[in-house]
Point group: C2
Chain length 366, copies 2
């Protein structure tokens, strides 16, 4: 990701592992403070995932894989069996840090499988680390390919509505929905982006606008509730979002509010595209009813964190602690509202159990 820091252009990834340290662009502090936060233990990495230091299906998967690699190194065991048992226990904790995105559990499982190879501890540790790095590299290739695959759907000067953050902060190194938009910009299509702010965590206002600013892509920020108004005014040519988990039938779990955007696009005859790596398809999950929806703290709805006039990070409360809150942070969009999936293996417009199964099986694993 191209980032301008103190006026200098730098190329950087949202999540990397250096030695035993997992490093993340601290997404809690953007857009006002750019900081790389560092986590030395696998437990610290898990807590960082829970605290949303990094977020987005791709980044969470990579961070989870690195946490398994850290655990493989840091577990103190006297036998391989004991090490193996402790690694599985750690892996379970890591996979549960965020329940909705399939990428986290599949990344963790992929690393665990790597621990089966080899006989010596050092060899197993090395294999886990290689597996974790492979997940990062796969994401980088997939997001580049998704960005290119989506171009067949976008005309010049399209006005595109997106939700949440699906850029290079969410999946290395381009993004999914935002990767497609970024590529459209890079190839001179001059897209205009409407960014819904994405309460409660404001990924839209804090992260997506920041990424678009780094790239110089024209955009307007709106409140989540204004999407219907945009459609009524004829201001939207396409809606593109990402996905945290896609069921075998094509139902899409994604950031809360995605479903509403799909219904509105449908009502106005505007295409609704979901950009995601095939890794986000979970064939073991028959439909959206089976996807666990994460509920997060009421605090996220009762208050806002941002930057105070003195430049420091601060939180303002808007409803008392006694206010009852429902805070589901994902919802499920039924497949019938999806015009097409944009994946690293191309665009899937005919959505069915069969076509999805074919798509997923057309790859060679990781």
């Amino acid at each position: 990701m191209r980032v301008i820091i103190d006026g200098r252009v730098q190329d950087i990834l949202a999540v990397v592992m250096k030695g035993q340290q997992v490093q993340m662009i601290d997404q809690r502090l953007l857009p006002f403070t750019f900081r790389i936060s560092k986590f030395r233990t696998w437990q610290a990495t898990v807590q960082a995932i829970k605290d949303l230091v990094t977020r987005g299906a791709g980044s969470v998967g990579v961070a989870g894989a690195f946490a398994v690699a850290q655990a493989a190194q840091q577990i103190d065991a006297s036998t391989i069996e004991e090490w193996n048992a402790q690694l599985h226990s750690a892996a379970q904790t890591i996979a549960q840090a965020r329940p909705t995105a399939v990428t986290l559990s599949s990344a963790v499982n992929y690393c665990l499988a790597a621990a089966e190879s080899g006989t010596a501890l050092a060899e197993k540790q090395h294999q886990v680390r290689v597996a974790a790095k492979a997940i990062l590299e796969r994401d980088m290739k997939a997001s580049q390919a998704i960005s290119e695959a989506g171009q067949s759907l976008l005309k010049s000067q399209y006005r595109i509505l997106t939700h949440c953050n699906t850029g290079a902060l969410a999946i290395q190194d381009h993004g999914t929905a935002l990767g497609v938009i970024r590529q459209a910009h890079a190839t001179g299509k001059e897209p205009l982006v409407y960014v819904s702010e994405t309460r409660p965590w404001l990924q839209g206002s804090r992260l997506t606008t920041w990424e678009l600013q780094q790239e110089g892509i024209p955009h307007h920020l709106i409140v989540d509730s204004a999407c219907g108004y945009l459609h009524q005014q004829g201001l939207v040519d396409a809606v593109i979002v990402g996905a945290d988990r896609i069921a075998a039938n094509g139902d899409v779990a994604n950031k809360i509010g995605t479903y509403e955007k799909a219904v509105l696009a449908h009502e106005h005859g505007i295409p609704f595209y979901v950009a995601a790596p095939t890794d986000a398809f979970d064939l073991a999950c028959p439909n959206g009813h089976d996807i666990a929806i994460e509920e997060r703290s009421a605090h996220e709805v009762r208050s806002f964190t941002g930057t105070l006039p003195n430049g420091r990070t601060g939180t303002v409360q808007i409803a008392p602690d006694t206010t009852s809150v429902l805070n589901p942070v994902f919802d499920v969009t039924p497949a019938k509202y999806v015009s097409a999936f944009i994946t690293e293996r191309g665009v899937l417009s005919q959505i069915s159990l069969t076509s999805i199964k074919q798509l997923v099986h057309s790859g060679n694993g990781l």
Copy 2:
């Protein structure tokens, strides 16, 4: 409105006029600080309306009427003609403080018409004041009648989704949509309320939850984007909102996001009710395309105002000042999505040009 201040129950109105002073419950400071702010000049009252010290179609209309009464007294003119010209000029300024709600301009016009009666200045001033007070009294009666009329639509233990604030802060002394809910609670129907927070100004989280807490009505606060999720989970039996202006064909201008909620209710076969006084119908406006939609400052979307940990009011910024923002604060819901209007003259379920005209003409003016 029943308000608990320092543990004592008080009966209070959102906007009143005492002598030459307009007094408003300062809605910018709720829910953490209850303060009555006072405005001595008509210009100060206009600024208060613009600054959202009071808001809501009813309260804005009453405050505008009081501003005309202040102007009638405060204008310094040597002849009746000059006074009249200046009053009309002031009235125009007052009516434009908020463009979308019809209540403001109709209240101002009603007070201006009262200035035609009598010959002596003192008599004219008195008549304007009487007219302004009549608007407050009419609202009080209308909101009580709306609250009762809506009961035929609500069953026991209904789970009701509402948007923005339509309570006693918005129209004296019960509210419209929230008046109906309040009445359902008072008559033992045990409603449960889902309150959408209503970005950007957070009338839901700051004001509606506050009113519901005063009355002890069970409720859950949600982000605006979670309404579709609630419908999917089968948690909503009815949606009730208010209206700022209703066109002759039944199209409804109301807080941004109302349209989205109407489409979602329609998609899920859930009734969508609009509670408003007949005063909100604007027969001069053929349909929603003719309603001016107010756009407010980008600052409202780029930042949040609330209460800091030290108890003082503070603002945090979430997007840089350079971020382009679109901030329409109302939208228009086409009549086809409205299941019924709840007015002080009863429930209108058969919505048409004719039935609306009949309803509006069935009254005796103010």
